[in-house]
Subunit: 68 residues, 6 copies
């Protein structure tokens, strides 16, 4: 499946922290850049996310704020 | 001002394209990665965005989808 | 690629309307339900979206408001 | 009140799971489709969401990613 | 209909600007605060938005970034 | 840093509630208006948010739904 989301950064999972409903996933996109994604705990478990996994951080372009 | 947004990627503006209401900003975060942000044309003009500007792409962690 | 986005509705493209920066895509998820997605014109063109295409409408669960 | 959100799917609450800050609401929009919405626990309680409630899943069109 | 969105600010439409796909709506929530909402042109037309209309600016709490 | 986000409301933190992954921040933007922002617990702690802090509630214009 190809996605309309313009931004798809390759990275590796560095850390998975599960809450009750949400989960925080740290993704190293390029040393030393780490991206934080908050997804549902259910998704984290269904994807079986664990440190070292190759993943994509997918971000729709309307969600990005530009700072200058 | 410090922001709660966990993800703030440094980059350079590669291209600014203005529509009637929105504008598309291409930001090179690290060769060869280019991020697309769709913001209002008004913001693009107020920030005076042009190719070569040093900017940040700011993304709240709840906006990121993880693909594996 | 498997996505963390919990909501992935299958549907067919009913209409594609291109603006200067954005594009509006009408997706029939189930007669008579039609979903509207606003994506970049660039994505609409890269995906080659046209009426009748089988697509998925992907929605992260944090983006949904519940009305009762 | 009429909303600008283009997408308002009618459905029934199938499950409510409360976390500390957020809550996950499963909404059956049409058998066998189930939509997951993550909202604040506070909202879930104020709306008194429970299994069987008729609700709307409201999604702004800029939040939808198209996969093909 | 009651909404899960925690933030519903009352205001008046100050300006409506239509693009091809999107529309920019300026809402005065309290003098001198003006909020900008970018919605689809289709929604702006269906709601018949015009200067002086009493409206609500509805914002889900997960969409807000905190700056300090 | 100047932001592309059109909406930046000044306010004071009224309440901070930490969950496991997320945190709920109540911001009084103007008596008696209180805005709720759900951010990561990590951000709430890094910003050291506490009652009485002067903060900004930053909202991108594409995230706002208009109700009439």
């Amino acid at each position: 499946m190809e996605l309309s989301a313009r931004n798809q950064l390759n990275g590796k999972v560095k850390n998975v922290e599960l809450g009750m409903i949400t989960a925080s996933i740290k993704i190293e996109v390029e040393d030393p850049n780490v991206i934080t994604a908050v997804i549902t705990k259910e998704s984290a478990e269904k994807l079986g996310l664990k440190e070292g996994d190759d993943v994509k951080a997918i971000i729709k372009s309307t969600e990005i704020i530009v700072g200058k």
